[in-house]
């Protein structure tokens, strides 16, 4: 496509890195993408697989908004490249509900109003599911500490903790 506003100068083309095929199982479905090595898992999900439920809040592993479950463990998807995860199983917020029934953590987030704007919510929910699977958090203090990688700027923390406790109790019973 011709440039309208600035002419390409003479000189050699600076190539973009060659693209590599990557196989992922995303929310239970086999997905094949061909991406450059500099594409993060987060951008692969959002821009290449159309799964925009996973959010970008900092791109530096500081806010946790991009948390997904990678082979069952919670991970900041902005901190890993898609090509590093060839063959991995990824679960995003879009893959949690089953046959129209919300995952218990999703339902608990609604019940306890554990969000306002929703920008951190996918990450909080995936992180909470990871936390519960880890089985390390037994007390409210431990939930708070182990959920501190997920920033909620609307300040819904007490509701997030209440939602996680509800989901934990349901799991136990």
């Amino acid at each position: 496509m011709a440039r309208k506003f600035r002419k390409r100068p003479s000189g050699p083309t600076i190539p973009a890195p060659a693209k590599i095929p990557v196989s992922l199982t995303v929310n239970g479905a086999a997905r094949e993408i061909v991406v450059a090595p500099w594409v993060t898992l987060l951008d692969a999900l959002r821009e290449h697989l159309g799964l925009t439920g996973t959010k970008k809040g900092c791109d530096h592993g500081q806010c946790g908004a991009c948390t997904v479950l990678l082979d069952g463990r919670r991970i900041n998807s902005c901190m890993t490249f898609a090509v590093m995860q060839d063959g991995a199983k990824v679960t995003t917020v879009e893959g949690l509900a089953r046959d129209g029934t919300l995952h218990p953590v999703q339902q608990a987030f609604i019940d306890h109003d554990a969000f306002q704007c929703g920008a951190c919510t996918s990450g909080q929910i995936c992180s909470a599911i990871g936390l519960i699977a880890e089985g390390r958090a037994k007390t409210v203090e431990e939930i708070r500490e182990l959920m501190s990688g997920n920033i909620c700027r609307c300040g819904a923390y007490p509701n997030i903790v209440a939602a996680i406790r509800q989901a934990m109790e349901r799991e136990r019973s």
Binding site: R3, R8, P9, G11, A16, H60, F115, G118, A119, I151
Partner: protein, 733 residues
């Protein structure tokens, strides 16, 4: 009322917990091009040269736009003046010319087939500058600060009264630059439709404000542009004005004639806007018995070189408490930073922080309990205008808040309460904000199937607007909540101002009420016209809508189903749109109030502070949704904890640059920083503020919180830190 006042769960909750809610950076489009912004590394001067040669040679780069080669934009600065722009000054025009006004200013836009390519190529753009001398330090520039006009008039003779006062307190309090840091990055996705028309998904608190701005800047007709913001991942005031990414994204779509996505980085967002660094100087004079006699409040805040941003910091001090003498001044100091902006209860958050810490210090000087001092200065009238309030249940906030907190068990002596190795401190403060309402229009389309669609251009920035709109409409139309759908955040919908100032709930609710009343009239006419209508002799005043029926209130059993009335009248839908205009009424003051009680525990050796308990008692008229309103107040409390203990943007004054422009080094409260928060809504019936008695709760939650925490820290440690945030180094100094 089946829904108003209940803890209804968010109607958009499922969309948010399943990831289907679409935000500005989520919109998909075939052939999407991506932008990456190059920003200035100097705070002031001119761009001498931009060398985009290497960037343009990167495979996949489509173009590099700068002031040298961009498509046409308006020249007049008036075209860039949006609804929320300060009256004085000329707004920043992104990519307009070679002038550098602040560090982090966008100076070039790299466009590429993929985002990573754009970002890489942006690092190859070489820029040379002519640097000019600059200033960024408020503490240096305060000497040159100039006074701005404020509506509040002085009363009495504050200077003489202060000089003669039996007990005086005089101190300066400082609030550093703070950033909103919504979790969603600023983003715009512009869909190019081929016919020159643009659909713009933008992160904004005001779609019509952005629409008008873009039409003026790009000389577009309103029909050529549609701005959408159905969901917004947090604003806190940062999205009231159009931000530069939307200007650049539209510029790029017009240049490339294809759809464009532009997402700013977290670091770049620090150059959008911020809460201005402010010095609050309080001068209080009291009689020995413990009544306030004079209040002096001076605020000195930063603004940019090109716009005068000022809010009401000082007026609260003269309004809130009874005092015969009062004077105020608000000054601005120009610095080479972007223009500050509204951020969570702008003016009140900073001004009331100063006032409420000063009141605490005065209580100490008077050897009075801080609640007792406030009760002695309590005023049932607005002290500025000497007019009554539509309602003011602040006394009840003190009473209920103190009772729930257990305030009567407080030992007034600092350093007197302990929990193991930690010092325990209890502090309190008052909060105040305005109950505002704006002209707003709503459209209601009622189908014969009993389904209603409510639409309005307001955005829901996370506050719960979708939900309260559905609740109010369901109640006023007599329909179940499930039969109501809500459309918001679209510039083509009926008129609404930006979402801010806590005015959304009152504004949209009364617009719904007015439009629902039109629907009621229309249904009544149809019902009366039915053969053998049981409502044939009814009067409109007696007609209500309930349970899907048009009924006579005097005889609830008498009525007809709405569906029957519409069918008989051969109407498959009723559509009404009307605007609720707000008449100015200066006979009463309109305010929300709060009392905040905070407990801190301070490690005596390390100085680490934890806010272990907060009780916030709020009087804000009728609460439409006790669940979402509680979340708003809780969020304000968390913001106040951040303000008190964590948040500060650090500027390197030798480089004129913000140093901690990321969420790891700009500290915001995380989950482990937040413990028990209890929210109390004090019953405050009010049929004067507006017919539905709604005051709004967005801002009141944060006002006073930082003061309550700071006062608790003093009570725990005996050390008064007036410069926010209260960090370990200041406490141990």
């Amino acid at each position: 009322m089946a829904y108003i006042g209940t803890p209804t769960s968010r109607v958009d909750g499922t969309a948010k917990v399943t990831g289907t809610a679409k935000y500005a950076g989520d919109a998909a489009a075939p052939g999407l091009a991506y932008g990456a912004v190059v920003t200035s590394t100097i705070p002031k001067g001119r761009i001498a040269k931009i060398d985009a040669g290497a960037a343009l040679r990167v495979a996949g780069v489509l173009d590099v736009l700068s002031h040298e080669n961009r498509p046409r934009m308006a020249r007049r600065t008036a075209a860039y003046k949006d609804d929320v722009a300060p009256e004085q000054g000329s707004p920043f025009r992104p990519l307009y010319d070679d002038k550098i006004l602040f560090s982090g200013q966008p100076i070039a836009l790299v466009l590429a087939e993929e985002w990573e390519i754009a970002r890489f190529a942006a690092t190859l753009v070489r820029v040379e500058y002519d640097v000019a001398p600059f200033v960024t330090d408020l503490h240096v520039e305060r000497e040159r600060a100039f006074a701005v006009e404020q509506p509040h008039k002085p009363r009495g003779d504050a200077d003489n009264a202060h000089a003669a006062a039996a007990v005086r307190h005089e101190a300066e309090y400082f609030i550093p630059i703070e950033h909103h840091n919504p979790i969603e990055l600023y983003a715009s996705t512009v869909l190019w439709q081929g016919d020159g028309k643009l659909t713009v998904y933008d992160k904004t608190q005001g779609v019509q404000n952005v629409g008008n701005y873009l039409c003026a800047v790009f000389n577009l007709k309103p029909v050529e542009l549609r701005v959408l913001s159905p969901f917004m991942g947090g604003g806190f005031g940062s999205g009231l004005r159009p931000q530069y990414q939307v200007t650049l994204a539209v510029l790029a779509a017009r240049a490339l004639e294809r759809p464009v996505r532009l997402v700013l980085t977290r670091q770049q967002m620090y150059a959008l806007c911020y809460r201005p660094a402010t010095i609050e100087r309080l001068v209080l004079g009291a009689e020995r018995g413990g009544t306030l006699d004079s209040v002096g409040h001076e605020a000195i805040a930063v603004t940019s070189q090109y716009e005068d941003f000022a809010r009401n910091d000082t007026g609260w001090s003269g309004q809130l408490y009874k005092s015969r003498h009062a004077k105020y001044v608000h000054r601005l100091a120009r610095v080479d930073l972007p223009t500050p902006s509204d951020m969570r209860a702008p003016g009140a958050t900073t001004g009331v922080y100063g006032l409420e810490c000063a009141m605490d210090e005065l209580a100490v000087a008077l050897k009075l309990d801080p609640v007792e001092l406030r009760l002695r200065c309590y005023s049932d009238r607005d002290q500025h205008e000497d007019i009554p309030y539509t309602s003011k249940k602040l006394r009840e906030c003190y009473r209920q808040g103190a009772a729930v907190f257990g305030w009567d068990r407080r030992n007034r002596e600092p350093r007197s309460m302990r929990d193991g190795s930690e010092l325990v401190g209890w502090g309190m403060a008052s909060g105040v904000w305005e109950a505002l309402q704006m002209d707003t229009a709503v459209r209601i389309v009622l189908g014969a199937n009993g389904h209603a669609e409510i639409s309005c251009a307001f955005s829901d920035i996370g506050t719960g607007t979708y939900t309260i709109v559905a609740q109010v409409a369901a109640d006023l139309l007599g329909l179940p909540l499930e039969a109501v759908t809500v459309q918001l955040g679209d510039s083509t919908l009926p008129q609404a101002p930006v979402e801010g100032g806590s005015w959304t709930a009152a504004s949209v609710s009364h617009a719904i009420a007015k439009t629902a009343d039109e629907i009621r009239k229309e249904l009544w006419r149809l019902a009366k016209a039915m053969p053998n209508s049981p409502l044939a002799a009814s009067r409109l005043d007696d007609i209500a809508l309930a349970d899907g029926r048009i009924i006579d209130k005097k005889d609830g059993g008498r009525g007809v189903p709405m569906a029957d009335a519409m069918r008989h009248g051969r109407r498959d839908r009723l559509a009404c749109e009307s605007t609720n205009t707000v008449k100015e009424d200066t006979s009463h003051a309109r305010n929300t109030h709060s009392a905040i009680f905070a407990e801190v525990k301070v490690d005596e050796e390390l100085g680490v502070i934890r806010v272990t308990r907060v009780v916030s008692a709020v009087a804000a008229g009728r609460i439409l949704n006790t669940k979402t309103a509680r979340s708003q107040i809780m969020g304000g409390v968390v913001g106040g904890i951040g303000m008190a203990l964590h948040e500060e943007t650090l500027v390197d004054h030798t480089l004129g640059r913000m140093m901690n422009a990321n969420i790891a080094e700009y500290h915001v409260p995380v989950n482990a920083d937040v413990h028990d928060i209890e929210v109390i809504f004090v019953d405050e019936p009010d049929d004067l503020v507006n017919p539905l008695g709604i005051k709004g709760v967005g801002e009141i939650g944060i006002v006073g919180v930082a003061a309550a925490v700071a006062n608790a820290v003093y009570h725990a440690t005996g050390k008064r830190v007036r410069d926010l945030p209260i960090t370990v180094d200041k406490l141990l100094r």
